[in-house]
């Protein structure tokens, strides 16, 4: 069984993976893959250090498989985390009777273009304190 390390990016909550180059990447395809018997301890420690440095939150191992050269998560939840909602949620893409084509949020479009791995945004996070106490615990937040 293959594994990758995933988390959410602190400033915007985007799903990220520990990349092959050591930084955090938004594409699963660029994630560092650990084989079934590989020791993930060191990488998880690194991820927890990154959480302490306030780059990411809630790092965890995610099981994946390789399918025709492409990485795929094993669970639906992780597939949705990797690929986004399975529905046409953007107003302009909704295939709904009577809906008009609607423009998307300007600000978000700018953000999408800037959806870079976290190492490229490190300048914005230079205040991150290295010895921030305690790694993030996995939360169970109340439903509405």
């Amino acid at each position: 069984m293959l594994r990758v390390i995933s988390a959410n990016r602190l400033p915007d909550g985007a799903v990220v993976y520990l990349g092959r180059g050591g930084g955090w990447v938004t594409r699963l395809a660029e994630a560092k893959v650990f084989s079934a018997n590989a020791d993930t301890g060191e990488a998880l420690l690194l991820a927890q250090e990154e959480a302490k440095r306030n780059l990411i939150v809630e790092p965890a191992l995610v099981e994946v498989t390789e399918d025709e050269g492409r990485l795929r998560p094993l669970t639906l939840r992780e597939t949705i985390r990797a690929e986004g909602p399975t529905i046409n949620y953007l107003p302009q893409r909704r295939n709904v009777r009577g809906r008009q084509a609607l423009p998307c949020g300007r600000r978000w479009l700018e953000g999408a273009e800037k959806a870079l791995p976290i190492e490229d945004r490190s300048g914005e996070l230079e205040h991150a304190r290295l010895e921030a106490p305690g790694a993030a615990a996995v939360a169970h937040e109340a439903a509405s």
Binding site: R77, I80, P91, W108, G134
Partner: protein, 552 residues
């Protein structure tokens, strides 16, 4: 509607400033996630699967056009151009950056809105009948009392760390449209034998993993005692509610374990002991708040409005909309118009910025600057002159908002489910979309008649599946989505929790299963006048089991 006074303005502004500081400290590393999580949750910010989510309260479901335009602008500027109206009269933004949340909250504060107490173990947004102040069957507008409860409970130091979250609903009409019996406290406005108006008090209802119907613990509470009595309930709960087990911490479990009579006695004793405290509501204060909700001056209109009647006779689409989405207003010649956020195949409760702006414009022009948000995830224009309905309908239609399906099989209530939610075990929205498409033919949906389908993507029941006439609960079974069906739920006066039909269904087969249930109903009903729930109550589960599983 209510306008903030200096006190409201200051405390909301102070909270925004505090949160701005907390976010800055989180981003700088001064606070870690463990320290920050309770702070962000107290301001309505969750971390979901793909992004943060901001839940903003719409107190008792009342919005002004100015507020709706602000929600549209926030969606466009800080999110992806849409918002999701929830089953508790809130709106959720699904994609805000954490760093933007203080700016969003500051913008919302400028139109007297906030996200305080939309999460956490505190008294949540107080909800009310979405037809309040307009309905023909109303005893009194519940919103002034919901507002009084909001003011009293906001940042209440004694009730900011309850054993668990706490939900209050107030209903002022004869028909319960606020689902008060599935709330921690439900207040029903009633008139006693002396002709005085007060509240019947229901306590201990709730859905989630242990669905329970509230017990009536008092037949009549004078208005002046609203806060003192709520305080007595809260004190009993705060002291005795279980803090050792999150799943047993709601007040419904306290009533279930100790008995309604024992809890009632404790509440009454606490209430009697606190009679001298300063919580008795002076009549002047009630009247001061009621004045904010004074009904708009509605010009006289003919009871048989000519333009409305002409269009109805000429345009079957309009006639269907008028019959399905417009209900009686207490003023002749007016109607309460439901704007369905359930287009066929659409995402229940979602509205784009442009949808919101269309509704805001219509409210300004045709509904005396009032909009309502229903817990059924629709919007409402509460005061529309029927002669204006043709123009309202045309403009809704141009925006794709004129789906004439209020209360029909396609008016599906659905939580966001696994497409967004970190707690979900299965997807809800795609199931809602497929059912909507299956029954999308409006003639067929009308033939089926009134039928509420509610879908939740996990046991927490945000889609209120327990009280759907047909409820669907999405679970995860051996790595796949599985859907359990319940029948016979009812959120209203004859409140009932739906019964499970039997083994669950796969994502592929669940829509066929719903069609089988509907088909069985059509076969066994005595006639079109016998709706699904009535028929279910008459015949019970057996014929539906037979239709689903081939044996009774």
């Amino acid at each position: 509607m209510y306008r903030y006074d200096e006190f409201d303005r200051e405390f909301v502004a102070a909270r925004v400033a505090q949160f701005r500081d907390q976010v800055a400290r989180r981003l700088s590393g001064e606070l870690n996630e463990e320290q920050f999580r309770p702070l962000r949750l107290m301001n309505g910010v969750y971390l979901q699967l793909h992004a943060y989510m901001l839940r903003v309260a719409i107190p008792y479901g009342t919005l002004s056009p100015r507020q709706m335009r602000k929600l549209a602008s926030v969606a466009r500027r800080y999110d992806k151009g849409y918002g999701h109206f929830t089953t508790r009269q809130n709106i959720q933004f699904n994609w805000p950056a954490l760093a933007d949340c203080p700016d969003i909250l500051e913008e919302l504060a400028s139109v007297e809105m906030h996200a305080i107490q939309t999460s956490g173990n505190c008294i949540r947004n107080v909800t009310a009948d979405h037809f309040a102040g307009a309905a023909a069957d109303e005893i009194e507008d519940p919103r002034p009392y919901a507002e009084i409860l909001r003011q009293w409970s906001s940042l209440h130091p004694e009730y900011s760390f309850l054993p668990r979250k706490f939900k209050i609903a107030v209903n002022g009409a004869a028909a319960d449209r606020a689902a008060i019996r599935v709330h921690d406290i439900g207040y029903q406005i009633v008139r006693n034998s002396a002709g005085e108006i007060g509240f019947a008090v229901y306590v201990g209802g709730g859905l989630g993993r242990t669905p329970l119907i509230a017990h009536k613990i008092r037949d009549f509470l004078p208005k002046s005692a609203l806060l003192a009595y709520t305080d007595a309930i809260m004190r009993v709960y705060n002291l005795e509610g279980r803090r050792d087990n999150k799943f047993k911490a709601r007040i419904k479990i306290l009533l279930h374990e100790k008995g309604a009579e024992a809890v009632r006695a404790k509440v009454e004793a606490e209430f009697a002991a606190c009679q001298d405290e300063a919580l008795t509501l002076p009549q002047e204060e009630i009247e001061r708040i009621r004045a904010y909700f004074a009904p708009p001056a509605l010009p006289h209109r003919p009871a048989v409005p000519p333009a409305f009647e002409r269009r109805k006779a000429a345009d079957p689409g309009f006639a269907r909309f008028a019959a399905q989405n417009v209900v009686a207003h207490r003023e002749p010649g007016y109607g309460i118009v439901t704007i369905s956020l359930k287009p066929i195949g659409g995402i229940p409760g979602d509205a784009s910025s442009e949808d919101m702006e269309t509704v805001a414009s219509l409210a300004e022009q045709f509904s005396h600057n009032e909009i309502r948000v229903s817990h059924e995830q629709n919007l409402v224009l509460p005061h529309v002159a029927l002669d204006d309905l043709p123009e309202v309908y045309d403009r809704l239609d141009a925006q794709g908002l004129a789906t004439a399906n209020r209360g029909l099989v396609t008016d599906i209530v659905s939580c966001p489910g696994l497409d967004y939610c970190a707690l979900a075990t299965a997807r809800s929205i795609p199931v809602a979309q497929r059912i909507s498409e299956r029954f999308g033919d409006s003639a067929r949906a009308r033939e089926i008649g009134g039928l509420n389908i509610n879908i939740s993507g996990c046991i927490n029941a945000c889609g209120h599946h327990h009280v759907g006439h047909i409820g669907i609960l999405g679970l995860e079974k051996s790595g796949s989505e599985a859907y359990q069906i319940t029948l016979g739920g009812d959120p209203s006066d004859n409140c009932a929790i739906g019964a499970i039909t039997g083994p669950g269904f796969t994502a592929e087969s669940v829509v066929d299963a719903i069609e089988a249930v509907v088909g069985a109903y059509l076969k066994l009903r005595t006639g079109p006048e016998e709706d699904f729930l009535t028929a279910y109550r008459r015949v019970g589960m057996a014929p539906f089991k037979e239709a689903l599983y081939g044996h009774a």
